[in-house]
């Protein structure tokens, strides 16, 4: 019985930890499948976390907050597109620049709006859905935030968009061979720009989940490298939407497990556990090497002659 409770709690926590990673990784998937590595992800998630929180706090409406976060993420994606697609500048430097900029802007605006109060401001966060009655043994697993369910549902939706729709075909075409796509009459710039904008919006929702559902407050270390975990997960997922689920759940599971073992009094070097996804990714990159399904035109700016 005790073990069942432990397991139920673990699965429930795994889903919560995995949620922001699912959004972030799906967002990065759009960008990378169109041929752009968006290292702005870490900052875009931070921006989403801040804007969602601030807009909800100022307007008093969580939904307005979420919408504001989506718009902010969209804009961050568009800025990345302006730099990396239109101007064709170095993608990793542009991406890191966007991470630095969005992080700086969020911190600046946070201080302007909320001042330097000792007590961190908080909001009434999204409630958990109660699908099963509290007394039911599986209630912790099913009673999650709406955003978690939406995130899980988005995985097949994104798979369908990328693999089964015309827009998805265009994204894959410009990500694999932009010259051929252009010759076939596609507008490479416009398609990559759309993919980056959608991607940015998804990343921002991932960040907003943390402030608006899980925590109800904004702290400076809120993203703490989750964006980089997403960069790792996308390689682990071999650029396939469905694998994103497994990657996010495995990472979420390990994280949730170490938190639980720690509260039970096990002395673990948890900091080293936190490095696991990065180490696994580097090993995965080593094994996969050139056999990976990375989009062929990834990191290559396209310039129309």
């Amino acid at each position: 019985m005790e073990f069942t409770l432990f397991l139920v709690g673990l699965i429930a926590a795994t889903l919560r930890v995995a949620t922001p990673l699912i959004y972030g990784t799906l967002g990065e998937l759009f960008s990378e499948r169109s041929g752009v590595l968006n290292l702005g992800i870490e900052g875009t998630m931070f921006l989403g976390a801040f804007v969602g929180f601030a807009a909800a706090s100022l307007s008093g409406s969580l939904w307005i907050g979420l919408l504001a976060a989506i718009i902010a993420g969209l804009l961050a994606g568009l800025l990345m597109a302006l730099l990396s697609v239109r101007f064709g500048v170095n993608q990793h430097v542009a991406g890191l620049g966007i991470t630095l900029l969005t992080t700086g802007l969020s911190l600046y605006a946070f201080r302007v709006i909320f001042g330097e109060s000792k007590v961190p401001p908080s909001i009434e966060s999204f409630p958990m859905l109660s699908i099963l009655p509290e007394t039911h043994i599986l209630a912790p697993i099913t009673n999650q935030y709406l955003l978690t369910f939406i995130g899980l549902a988005l995985i097949p939706v994104v798979w369908w968009i990328i693999n089964k729709t015309r827009f998805g075909l265009q994204i894959r075409a410009v990500g694999e061979n932009p010259e051929a796509a252009d010759a076939a009459g596609l507008n490479v710039y416009a398609i990559r720009t759309s993919a980056l904008a959608i991607g940015g919006a998804l990343m921002a929702v991932g960040g907003a989940f943390l402030t608006m559902a899980q925590l109800g407050s904004f702290t400076f270390g809120i993203i703490a490298g989750r964006g980089w975990v997403c960069i790792a997960l996308i390689i682990f997922a071999n650029w396939k939407a469905v694998n994103v689920l497994w990657g996010a759940l495995i990472f979420g599971g390990v994280q949730a497990l170490q938190l639980r073992l720690q509260t039970l009094g096990f002395k673990l070097p948890y900091e080293l556990f936190l490095s696991l996804p990065y180490v696994v990714t580097i090993i995965a990159l080593t094994i996969a090497g050139r056999n990976s399904s990375a989009p062929s035109a990834l990191l290559k700016p396209y310039r129309r002659e």
Binding site: L37, L39, L100
Partner: protein, 351 residues
């Protein structure tokens, strides 16, 4: 009638110098918007940003203190980028250098500075180099993209640091997450009494001079520049691309490691979690702003050091959040990056 035509051809050389200079006013124009939103006057703000720090003795010295690690991370990134190796991991290599230096400083007790200081330098360089090693080997042996691996190595070393500070190195008395103090013989000497300016800045200047010499005056520099322009071309010309790139990657890591050693041996005297807080990423801004030229890197590092110091002055005087400095720095990076696109074009008169 004369007409002008824009064509795709390398712009004249003076454009390369003009672009970063042009980027500065554009950046200030863009960032003045958020200063206005906070109800402050942008002109006053920029006065305190750029002029005030240089007016006082203490703050002027502080500009050089802040620039010390930036000179090194900027040099590390510029050296790697120049050789066609996209090292995003200066931040992590800095931490590795700081860890190694802390190890040296806490193990070598009762040594004279003549032994202690070189040991710290070698330790810092070796730490950064070792942290750069896995990505570099994967790149040259298996063709694994270095951007992602160097980036992920940054996250790993942060966790390693936090593990060390909460575990083996935790201060047993205060229980603070900070390492024991390094021994007296391994501390970098102060250059100006009662200031934080230390020997690290001399190391930084020497490193910049060395990489300038290597890049522009040696056959190795010629090879690495050729690789930076085109790997295929360099290979075709008979250059050992992999071997050259491996050396470039490791030296770059070592230089970033020196920055970490300097922060430990000259500023903090022990390891803390926040030893860097983005100095490695600022190195990317500095390298870009400096056009990957060692001299440009030197000037840019001093400029970013000025911005970092100025941000604190602005914050103190006008009550504008200190994060204005981060916004200005990152905007400057993006603006410079965008303006550099212009150097691929030339305006020509046609009759």
């Amino acid at each position: 009638m004369t007409k002008y035509r824009i064509e795709r051809a390398p712009a004249p050389g003076w454009m390369r110098i003009l672009i970063p200079l042009l980027a500065i006013p554009v950046t200030f124009l863009l960032t003045s918007v958020i200063i206005l939103l906070d109800g402050a006057n942008p002109f006053t703000a920029y006065y305190h940003f750029l002029v005030s720090p240089l007016a006082g003795r203490v703050s002027a010295i502080e500009v050089f203190v802040k620039s010390t690690p930036l000179l090194l991370t900027g040099a590390a990134v510029a050296f790697a980028f120049k050789g066609g190796y996209w090292n995003i991991g200066a931040e992590g290599q800095l931490y590795a250098g700081a860890i190694a230096a802390t190890f040296v400083g806490t193990v070598l007790l009762d040594v004279p500075p003549i032994i202690g200081i070189p040991a710290m330098i070698i330790g810092g360089f070796a730490g950064g180099l070792l942290w750069a090693l896995p990505s570099a080997i994967l790149k040259v042996k298996l063709g694994v993209d270095e951007v992602v691996t160097t980036l992920l190595m940054n996250s790993i070393v942060l966790n390693v640091t936090s593990f060390l500070l909460n575990g083996p190195w935790r201060n047993p008395v205060s229980m603070w997450p900070q390492s024991p103090e390094i021994s007296a013989g391994t501390v970098f000497p102060q250059l100006i009494p009662r200031s934080r300016l230390h020997f690290g800045i001399i190391i930084a200047v020497i490193v910049i001079l060395i990489i300038w010499f290597v890049i522009s005056r040696t056959s190795f520099g010629l090879k690495m520049r050729a690789i930076g322009l085109s790997k295929e071309g360099a290979r075709f010309a008979g250059i050992k691309v992999n071997k050259t790139m491996l050396i470039v990657a490791l030296v770059s890591g070592g230089i970033a490691g020196l920055a970490g050693a300097g922060e430990v041996a000259g500023i903090h005297f022990h390891l803390i979690d926040a030893i860097s807080d983005g100095l490695g990423y600022s190195g990317i801004t500095i390298a870009t702003l400096g056009g990957l030229h060692p001299l440009g890197v030197g000037i840019s590092a001093l400029f970013i050091g000025l911005i970092d110091t100025g941000a604190q002055t602005v914050s103190r005087v006008l009550g504008v959040p200190v994060y204005l400095g981060d916004v200005v720095q990152s905007t400057l990076l993006l603006v410079t990056l965008s303006l550099f696109v212009l150097q691929n074009f030339r305006i020509r008169r046609v009759n």
